[in-house]
Symmetry: C2
């Protein structure tokens, strides 16, 4: 028997997952004392159950301790196993020491989570140099992909689409979306000049002038890549693009800026926001159902 418990902000996803897998949703209380310390109380039975803690891990620093407190307390109360469902899994970008002395945050964060959980389930992890999450995580991982869902939406809603990825590292993922959309695809070349500044370039965009561009990216944070991409497409004579992101880490102002430059801006709900359109609960539930079967 599986039971889902939500950390604050992930209640809707936990309820959806419980419904879709015919499981139960447990009660977890998380609040903060005036001095900022977290208070965690597990208010439902967990003994002998396979428990899943659901926690969107955007803003991971603020959430890690309460997540660890919940996991330890659930384990001490006799859960059979504890899985983490993190629709957005952070700390995958700092995957090596680019400069001497840098913390390899992806490895350390994976190790910290590995002490608390028996398995991790996530959506479209941002893997660059790693071929799979198993190269980072010592515990079993399950990856759910949104490419097909996005591709099908494009196929149904955009005539003569061209899928455009931000950089060569995204090629495989962009190709998956394009395949599901039955559309051609291309990528920019990207050069990052700082946390909030990128330079994009593209060869011969002109040949795609008659197509409707759909700019896709897995993570939108500062929004620099989406904004530059949309501008570059217009400069090359293409139409104002559709923009689709998986993980919405941007603030309201950035969302509005992207929306103003695009025909339509859509994201998944791994980080719930006003542009959330693609629901990941059915994808995660499908993975869980086959694992639990």
């Amino acid at each position: 028997m599986a039971a889902f418990f939500a950390l604050p902000g992930s209640e809707a996803l936990a309820i959806d997952l419980a419904e879709l897998t015919a499981s139960t949703c447990g009660a977890l209380e998380v609040r903060h004392f005036p001095d900022g310390e977290s208070y965690v109380r597990v208010r439902s039975e967990v003994a002998k159950q396979d428990v899943f803690l659901v926690c969107g891990l955007d803003s991971p620093d603020a959430k890690f301790l309460s997540l660890a407190f919940a996991a330890r307390t659930i384990r001490s109360r006799g859960a059979r196993s504890i899985g983490l469902i993190a629709p957005y899994l952070p700390y995958l970008r700092q995957d090596k020491a680019f400069h001497e002395g840098e913390a390899i945050a992806s490895k350390i964060f994976a190790d910290l989570l590995g002490h608390e959980f028996d398995r991790v389930i996530t959506v479209d992890p941002h893997l660059h140099r790693y071929a799979s999450l198993d190269a980072v995580y010592g515990i079993p991982t399950r990856v759910v992909r949104s490419a097909e869902l996005i591709g099908e939406w494009v196929s149904e809603n955009v005539d003569s689409a061209l899928i455009v990825g931000p950089d060569s590292e995204s090629a495989q993922w962009v190709e998956e979306i394009a395949h599901a959309a039955d559309a051609p695809w291309t990528t920019f070349r990207k050069e990052r000049r700082g946390d909030r500044e990128v330079q994009l370039a593209a060869q011969s965009l002109e040949e795609w002038r008659d197509l409707m561009p759909v700019l896709v990216d897995d993570i939108v944070s500062s929004g620099a890549t989406m904004v530059e991409g949309a501008k570059l497409l217009r400069t090359a004579g293409l139409q104002s693009p559709y923009c689709v992101a998986v993980h919405a880490l941007f603030d309201d102002a950035t969302g509005a800026r992207i929306e103003s430059l695009t025909r339509k801006f859509l994201t998944t709900d791994t980080v719930p926001n006003k542009y959330s359109h693609f629901r990941v609960a059915p994808l995660i539930a499908g993975q869980l159902s086959s694992d639990l079967a």
Copy 2:
């Protein structure tokens, strides 16, 4: 050879400790990406050194991951040992499950720190049900006490002082201050009615009417205890008290409210603030010097 590295906000203490112990201060870079993830880079040599990370752990949730990233990176670069100097050590209040299912945060937090550090040094830890930090921490701990420093200040600055503690649990500590001040002491009885509400009572304050009250507390957070204590002393016919706190976790408005009700409001600098008067660096340095000798 010892080397001190500061997390953001603890730079002044690290520099003081390096000077007072004739050691070096290393460079640690900590910043945040636009999406909130922490970036940590150790910019000085640590190989074969006894390293001390200095980190005031008020707002612990926001700081834990960057602290862990720093500790792991320092260890991977060959430090001989890594100590944590946390002038304020958080998560000591939730030291048992008062209600079924509550996370025993003090034990879990101690265990998490114990994975990263070889030892912990702190000032006046808030111990209620535990007799010593060793009952919570699996790694060696060193406790520095500010009672003598506070008591000596009272002795030099307040005529006919009466040291007043907030509750019976503080009795031993209040007595230490009173001993150093060569002054009588008493405590209130305290009943906590919520995170931000307390009720204080006292017996026969009238007998102390000719003395100058010095209200002391180890942690001031919401300020409810100090405010109620100051009012109760006035109601009983005593003068507006001096107020002294060790760990200043309050916000600006609370500080101003306490200041308005008291003759003088002073704290230590374990959490630097505008009322910081008592410097803990010499106390910590004294402990370190005897440990390192």
